[in-house]
C-alpha cells in the first residue's frame, strides 16, 4: 500500500530525521569541480543558465525522502475486510501498539501475503519530487526465504544436541 497526499507545508531541516526510504540520498552539497581551491579568483567557474540556488533546490527536491515513523508489524488476526497487527516502533522505545488495517488498502499483489504471522514494515513520511511534497504511508510485506529441508534437518540436529547437553533425551 502506498498512500500519497500532496501538501504545501514548509519542511524545516530540524524536522528531518534519518533517511530510511530506499531512495537515493540527496546531494545537498553538490558543488562544481575545484571548489576546494583556495583562490576562487583564479578559477574558471562553469556558467549556468539559471541561478545556483534554483539548481541546488532541484537536486535536493527531486531526491528527498524521509521517514517520520517506522514500525515492524506482525499480523495477529485476519478478518473479512480488515487485518489486525501488532506494531513495534522502530524509531522510539514506545509501547507496542495494535492496529486494524483495511485489506483493500493493500495492493493486489501483496494481498496474498496477508496471513496470520506475516511480517511487514509500515513507514510514514514525505517524498519530495519536482518541488512537490507528498505525504506517504507505505506498507511493505517482508519477503523472507522459504523454509528449506536443510534448515529443518539442521534444526533437528541442534535440538538433539541441546537435549543431550541438558540431559533430557527421551
Amino acid at each position: 500500500m502506498k498512500r500519497e497526499t500532496t501538501s504545501t507545508t514548509t519542511i524545516e531541516d530540524s524536522m528531518i530525521p534519518q533517511n530510511v526510504f530506499d531512495f537515493q540520498k540527496s546531494n545537498e552539497t553538490a558543488e562544481p569541480k575545484n571548489s576546494n581551491n583556495s583562490s576562487n579568483q583564479e578559477l574558471h567557474l562553469p556558467t549556468y543558465s539559471f541561478p545556483l540556488d534554483s539548481l541546488f533546490s532541484q537536486v535536493r527536491l527531486e531526491t528527498s525522502a524521509f521517514s517520520l515513523e517506522k514500525w515492524e508489524g506482525c499480523i495477529t488476526e485476519v478478518q473479512d475486510d480488515t487485518f489486525t497487527a501488532t506494531l513495534v516502533d522502530l524509531k522510539a522505545n514506545n509501547s507496542d501498539e495494535e492496529a486494524v488495517f483495511f485489506i483493500n488498502e493493500i495492493s493486489l499483489e501483496e494481498r496474498k501475503m496477508i496471513v496470520e504471522g506475516a511480517l511487514f514494515y509500515w513507514n510514514i513520511g514525505y517524498e519530495i519530487r519536482n518541488g512537490q511534497r507528498r505525504s506517504v504511508s507505505e506498507i511493505r510485506f517482508r519477503r523472507l526465504p522459504k523454509i528449506s529441508k536443510r534448515e529443518i534437518d539442521l534444526g533437528k540436529k541442534r535440538a538433539h544436541l541441546l537435549k543431550s547437553m541438558l540431559n533430557i533425551l527421551e
Binding site: T76, N94, G117, S137, K156
Partner: protein, 347 residues
C-alpha cells in the same frame, strides 16, 4: 531471618503477567514474566526496588510459551544464577526443541515470539549447567521442609500432554513453507497450574489453563492423586475468559471469599469482558484486577498522527499502565492484607 513477610505479588500491564512469591527466608519464586512500558522486566525492577538480590530467586516457572507470559523471562533466568527453571512437559517434544534451538527460525529480531525467549533461556541454562525440570500433573517441583514450603504443578496431565504435543507437531514448519511468526496454540490445555503451600496457607495460580472437551481444569478437578486444596489466593486463569472457568474450581479448590486476581489482556479480543467480570464477581467479593482496560494512544506530532489516521481503522497501545496487586501475610492476625499499586483496582 528475612524481614520480608510472606508475599504474593501479581503484576499485569494489560499485556502479559508476572507473579512473585516470597516463600520465606528471603527466597523468591517467579512465575512468568512481563515488561513495563519502558520494556524492563517487571519482576527484576520490583525486586531491585525492595532490595532483594536476584540470586535469592530459587525457582523460575514458565507456565507456557506464549509471548504475553514469557517476555523478559530469559533476563530473569540470567540474573537468578541459582534458580531451577521449570516448564511444561508438553514442551519436551523434539518439535518444540527444534524450534527453540533454531530461535523460532529467525523471522525477526523485533517482533519476537515466546519461542525466541525460550531459545535464550535454554542457551543460558546450557552454558551455566543449571537445573531444568518439567512440570507435570501433581508433581513436586520445589520443597523446603525447613520453611514448610511445598510447590506442586497440577498440570499438564498425560492425556492433555498428548493433545498438546500433537498441536505443536501441527505447527512445525514444513519444507518450502512461507516463513512467518508461529501462531499460538489454542485452546491452551497444557499450561502449568501451580499450587503453593506455605504452612497452612495455600495459593493457586491458574496460568492460562483453559477447558476443552473435559480436559484442562476438569482433569485437575477429577484427579485421583491430587492433594486436597483450599487456596486463600487465586490467580484467575486466562485473563478471566469464560472458557477457562468451570464452577468446580470455585467450589472444590478455593476457600469461600477467596482473594482472586485477574490480569487483563488488551490485544485482539479484550479480556475480561464485562460478562466475565460479572460472572467472576458472583464467585467472590474479593476480586481484583492488575490494570484497568482503557484504550490508550501514543501522542505523536500532528503530521504523523494525520498519516496514521488516514491509514488505519484503529490503533492503540497494547499495554496499560502496569499495576500490581500485592498480598502480604500478617502472621499474628493470620490474614493476607492486600495493597494495590499503579493501575490495579478492586472490582
Amino acid at each position: 531471618m528475612s524481614h520480608f513477610p510472606l508475599e504474593v505479588s501479581i503484576f499485569g500491564p494489560g499485556y502479559g503477567e508476572c507473579i512473585l512469591i516470597h516463600i520465606g527466608a528471603n527466597k523468591w519464586v517467579v512465575i512468568d514474566s512481563c515488561l513495563n512500558s519502558k520494556k524492563e522486566s517487571v519482576a527484576l525492577h520490583y525486586l531491585n526496588e525492595i532490595g532483594v538480590p536476584f540470586v535469592n530467586i530459587v525457582q523460575v516457572i514458565a507456565t507456557h510459551w506464549h509471548d504475553d507470559h514469557i517476555r523478559g523471562l530469559a533476563q530473569i533466568v540470567q540474573e537468578a544464577k541459582h534458580c531451577i527453571f521449570t516448564f511444561s512437559s508438553a514442551l519436551s517434544c523434539d518439535e518444540f526443541f527444534t524450534l527453540a534451538a533454531n530461535n523460532g527460525l529467525n523471522i525477526s529480531t523485533t517482533t519476537t515470539s515466546g519461542i525466541q525467549e525460550f531459545h535464550k533461556i535454554l542457551d543460558i541454562i546450557n552454558l551455566r549447567g543449571s537445573k531444568l525440570q518439567f512440570a507435570d500433573e501433581n508433581k513436586q517441583i520445589f520443597l523446603d521442609t525447613e520453611l514448610s514450603v511445598s510447590i506442586k504443578s497440577l498440570s499438564p496431565s498425560d492425556e492433555t500432554r498428548v493433545h498438546a504435543l500433537k498441536k505443536i507437531a501441527d505447527l512445525f514448519p514444513q519444507v518450502n513453507m512461507e516463513r512467518k511468526r508461529l501462531p499460538s496454540i489454542t485452546p491452551n490445555i497444557a499450561s502449568v497450574v501451580t499450587h503453593i503451600k506455605i504452612n497452612d496457607q495455600e495459593i493457586l495460580l491458574g496460568a492460562d489453563l483453559e477447558e476443552s472437551n473435559l480436559q484442562g481444569w476438569s482433569t485437575i478437578i477429577s484427579s485421583q492423586t491430587r492433594d486436597s486444596i483450599k487456596a486463600n489466593i487465586f490467580k484467575i486463569p486466562h485473563h478471566g475468559s469464560r472458557n477457562a472457568d468451570i464452577p468446580q474450581i470455585w467450589s472444590t479448590l478455593l476457600i469461600k471469599h477467596v482473594a482472586a486476581v485477574v490480569t487483563p489482556y488488551s490485544k485482539g479480543k479484550k479480556l475480561p469482558s464485562n460478562a466475565d467480570i460479572k460472572r467472576l464477581k458472583e464467585n467472590t467479593e474479593n476480586l481484583f484486577q492488575t490494570s484497568a482496560p482503557e484504550a490508550k494512544r501514543i501522542t505523536r506530532t500532528g503530521v504523523s498522527q494525520k498519516l496514521i489516521n488516514s491509514t488505519v481503522k484503529s490503533i492503540q497501545t497494547v499495554q496499560y499502565c502496569c499495576g500490581q496487586v500485592r498480598f502480604r501475610f500478617d502472621p499474628v492476625a493470620k490474614i493476607w492484607n492486600e495493597e494495590l499499586f499503579g493501575n490495579a483496582s478492586k472490582l
